[in-house]
């Protein structure tokens, strides 16, 4: 039996008030693709930071290929043969691929003909990458390849990948998996952090499941169902959202006609001729890769950015293209933006103040210019109670809540205003599985009560779960929409990559999938 590539024993890390890792054991074998699975805040990042030398542990030890080691900093980790691809890339837009790679590796490695070595590696692992291209011209998927190639140049024995697929199209995910399997075949171990259970089932050989800083279980993902893994992760039986039966869709509540918008931001995306409508009782999902106009669409719909053509957006029977958020709320619209802290809520403010933030008009929390503090607090408590937000009280600041709890609070705040239309962007981004399920259920319930719901999300699983129709946004243009049973994930993937497909005709054309590669 070969020695494990990496062995952790009893790793413990305490932060003030929290035990981030408690007595964690982990063993990764050579060539193994090992999933590290857990909700947000389960301690995955802390553990990985310890392995990569970003952070020291309070107790416990680490063996590398049978030898006990201490890793004081990331450079030492790289010297041992540990590479890491972070969720957020650290790349310079104004530099070429080669320059970016040169900056991220040791000086010795950067010497000589880096350019041809990049080409070599990218060719042999199917990671198409031109070293002379400027980073700002590359898609998110291509940027990730830079990070992967950067790691591979250092011929790692262990590659750590933190939520690598959250920014990729399904086709790009397939490509990445091919590369990872190939590396695994060559004996490279891969520590794969994710909360996407389907991917873990497909890719990983072993999974270590963490909850509240502790390892709760190890399993073979191939023998588990996504559901059973989710239950291990959360420690309770998972209730998946249920679609209420027999909903009749009513009149259009949100109508968008030929919406054009020039982005004021240099790097923003312009919107071109966007048209759709959402009827009462219906959920429309908009899929797309990040940075294809979703934020811009959200801003235009919420009234944070106004358009000249008042008729291009209609809520109920009111034209609101030129009306701000307050008027749109008065017309019955609610929104949940992508960023929780700083956009949907003010981090430093208390929960009751954050309840007041968007509820002032519809909940009548303002009396001749003065804030009704008692009434606002009551409203906030109501949200906390009905949406099961975990917090000691409404006097706590928004940033004291975990991501999932704050998102539940924000959703509760918008839903309790009885909106006729609700627009949400990335509703479960970075939210733990339990909260995500609760949030999706609340969207389904809201539609069942007759609201028109628009969900803009990069998470296809989510859209297939909740949406009655799915459309795709790519480079500021919106496709037609199809019911989920009339379009496949592959076809949506092609649309996301900007390739025209006609699901009615092409649905059974297996060649269509090949173009994205």
């Amino acid at each position: 039996m070969t020695a494990p590539r990496l062995e952790l024993k009893g790793v413990t890390k305490r932060y003030p008030g929290v035990v981030a890792n408690n007595n964690v054991d982990l063993t990764v074998m050579p060539g193994e693709i090992h999933a590290l699975l857990g909700e947000n805040g389960a301690g995955k990042s802390t553990l990985v930071k310890f392995i990569y030398g970003v952070q020291r542990a309070d107790a416990g030890w680490m063996k590398w290929e049978g030898r006990e080691v201490e890793i004081p900093n990331p450079k030492a980790a790289r010297d041992l043969g540990i590479g890491m691809v972070f969720q957020h890339f650290s790349l310079f837009d104004a530099m070429t691929v080669e320059e970016n790679i040169a900056l991220g590796i040791s000086a010795e490695l950067a010497k000589g003909d880096l350019n041809s070595r990049i080409k070599e590696i990218s060719a042999s692992y199917g990671l198409l990458l031109d070293p002379d291209r400027y980073v700002h011209t590359l898609s998110v998927g291509e940027r990730q390849r830079i990070e992967v190639v950067r790691c591979l140049l250092q011929s790692p024995k262990l590659l750590i990948m933190d939520e690598p697929t959250s920014v990729l199209t399904p086709q790009e995910v397939e490509e990445l998996f091919k590369t990872l399997r190939r590396l695994s075949g060559e004996g490279v171990s891969i520590l794969y952090i994710s909360h996407k259970l389907q991917e873990i089932k497909e890719l990983c050989h072993t999974a270590t499941i963490m909850r509240m800083g502790e390892v709760v279980d190890d399993c073979d993902p191939a023998e588990e169902t996504a559901r059973s893994m989710a239950e291990m992760m959360m420690g309770k039986n998972l209730v998946s959202p249920e679609r209420p039966e027999g909903i009749e869709t009513g009149a259009p509540q949100l109508v968008v006609r030929n919406l054009d918008m020039e982005s004021s931001d240099h790097h923003g995306v312009d919107l071109h001729g966007i048209s759709f409508e959402v009827r009462s009782g219906e959920i429309l999902g908009i899929a797309g890769i990040a940075g294809n106009g979703q934020t811009e669409l959200m801003d235009v719909l919420s009234g944070e950015v106004l358009v000249d053509d008042d008729d291009s957006i209609i809520i109920g029977d009111k034209t609101v293209g030129g009306a701000g958020p307050v008027e749109r709320r008065a017309a019955g619209m609610s929104f949940v933006p992508e960023e929780r802290l700083g956009h949907g809520a003010v981090a430093e403010m208390t929960l009751w103040e954050n309840a007041f933030l968007s509820g002032a008009t519809r909940k009548d929390l303002l009396k001749s210019g003065f804030i009704q503090i008692n009434k606002s607090s009551k409203y906030a408590s109501e949200i906390v109670e009905q949406f099961k937000v975990k917090t000691p009280g409404v006097l706590n600041a928004a940033n004291s809540l975990s991501g999932g709890n704050l998102q539940k609070f924000i959703f509760g705040r918008e839903i309790l205003q009885d909106p006729s239309v609700i627009v949400v962007l990335q509703p479960t981004w970075g939210v733990d599985a339990g909260s995500a399920a609760a949030i999706r259920q609340s969207l389904l319930d809201l539609a069942a009560d007759g609201a028109a719901v628009l969900v803009i999300s990069q998470d296809l699983e989510e859209l297939f779960e909740v949406a009655d129709r799915i459309a795709v946004i790519c480079e500021g243009r919106l496709s037609k929409s199809w019911p989920p049973d009339e379009i496949t994930v592959d076809e949506i993937g092609l649309l996301m990559a900007g390739i025209e497909v006609d699901p009615a005709g092409a649905a059974h054309d297996s060649e269509a999938g090949g173009h994205a590669a």
Binding site: K49, N73, P74, F86, P325, G342, A347, M349
Partner: protein
């Protein structure tokens, strides 16, 4: 060895309120060294700077005379600063307010009307507002930087003052001194404590503190200002209009500064002179920060800063120290306060830059 700052994450609330006191103590300690270097007995100097000035009723009353404009302007400025609107030109707004209010007194120099004083209050406030409206307009219309425009307008205002008292507003019986004629009694703020200079202007400062407190804690305007400052995107999500906030905060701070200017000429000075203010408009910036941008904090900070003015004057008379000591003390106070605030947010670490950059990249993931 390199120094670097590392984010502490959670900020200690207690330290936020303690930092002004820490800054004061550090200023005093630094002051001891400063006096020692100047060859003065530090204990005597500190006493003469901070204690003697307020040991008499007159001196104590003077604290409120100097404190009035500082508190008034400080409260006004704190609103703008909370919304990240940086009105640095309160000194100019003060000057124009003094000219508008004082001008009225000169126009009706034979008046005995009870309405003259209220009219001057309104004129002074409007004058300051009008001066602050210029940077507000430029910022909302042309996106100019209000720090620059408001600051530059200070010099325009001072030149306007200089022109008026050297020309049209010069006292015809004043032997060619660049001063206006004395205000009529009806245009002078009543004295609150007999035999001292403490005048009714202090009531305006207290009123500003009370109003400011209610506004920031309970009113929608205060709420909008705070949200705009803490999270501009959340403000736009809520539908608060950024331009409206810019206008409101500049007009409020301008109005408060204008009123302070009018109070200065109508209270202690009683005529228009070339130097209306010893830099109250600038010192009030320190007052606002020292008071944690909270009206009640500003009240205490304003009185403390008033003491540095009195102490400077007294040290000049008693100890023969240069008047610049006042400025040095005010500067040290701000410096220590800012330093303390940085240390509340960050801790200092020793270490090479090389590992710190990779560590930072690691924390992002």
């Amino acid at each position: 060895m390199l120094l670097r700052l590392e984010n502490r994450g959670e900020i200690s609330r207690a330290m936020v309120y303690a930092s002004p006191f820490i800054a004061v103590v550090l200023t005093l300690i630094a002051g001891v060294f400063l006096f020692a270097i100047l060859g003065v007995n530090p204990v005597d100097a500190i006493l003469s700077f901070f204690v003697t000035p307020i040991s008499t009723l007159d001196g104590f009353a003077e604290l409120f005379v100097k404190g009035t404009p500082l508190v008034l302007i400080g409260v006004g400025l704190s609103f703008g600063f909370q919304a990240n609107v940086w009105n640095i030109g309160a000194e100019g707004q003060l000057t124009v307010g003094a000219l508008a209010g004082g001008g009225l007194a000169l126009l009706f120099f034979e008046s005995e009307s009870l309405f003259l004083l209220p009219a001057m209050v309104i004129a002074g406030t409007l004058g300051g507002m009008a001066w602050a409206a210029i940077p507000a307009f430029l910022k909302t219309r042309y996106n100019t930087n209000e720090i620059l425009t408001s600051l530059m307008l200070v010099y325009v205002a001072l030149l306007l003052l200089s022109y008026l008292i050297h020309g049209p507003w010069k006292d015809p019986e004043g032997q060619n001194f660049p001063e206006s004629r004395l205000f009529p009694d009806a245009g002078i703020l009543p004295v609150m404590i007999e035999t001292t200079r403490m005048h009714a202007g202090w009531l305006f400062a207290l009123a500003a503190v009370a109003t400011g407190w209610i506004l920031i804690a309970r009113h929608i305007i205060g709420f909008q200002i705070r949200v705009t400052g803490m999270a501009p995107m959340a403000a736009s999500f809520a539908g608060f209009k950024e331009k409206k906030i810019i206008w409101i905060t500049l007009l409020m701070s301008g109005g408060a500064a204008g009123l302070a200017g009018m109070i200065e000429v109508s209270g202690p000075i009683q005529q228009i002179v070339p130097n209306i203010s010893p830099g109250y408009g600038f010192t009030a910036i320190i007052v606002a920060f020292l008071g944690r941008l909270h009206p009640v904090g500003v009240l205490f900070a304003g009185l403390l800063m008033a003491l540095t003015y009195l102490g400077g004057e007294n040290a000049q008379i008693e100890m023969n120290l240069p008047n610049a000591v006042t400025g040095v003390f005010q500067g040290m106070l701000l410096f220590f306060l800012l330093a303390a605030d940085v240390l509340i947010k960050y801790r200092v670490k020793f270490g090479g830059a090389k590992t710190s950059s990779t560590a930072a990249a690691g924390e992002a993931g």
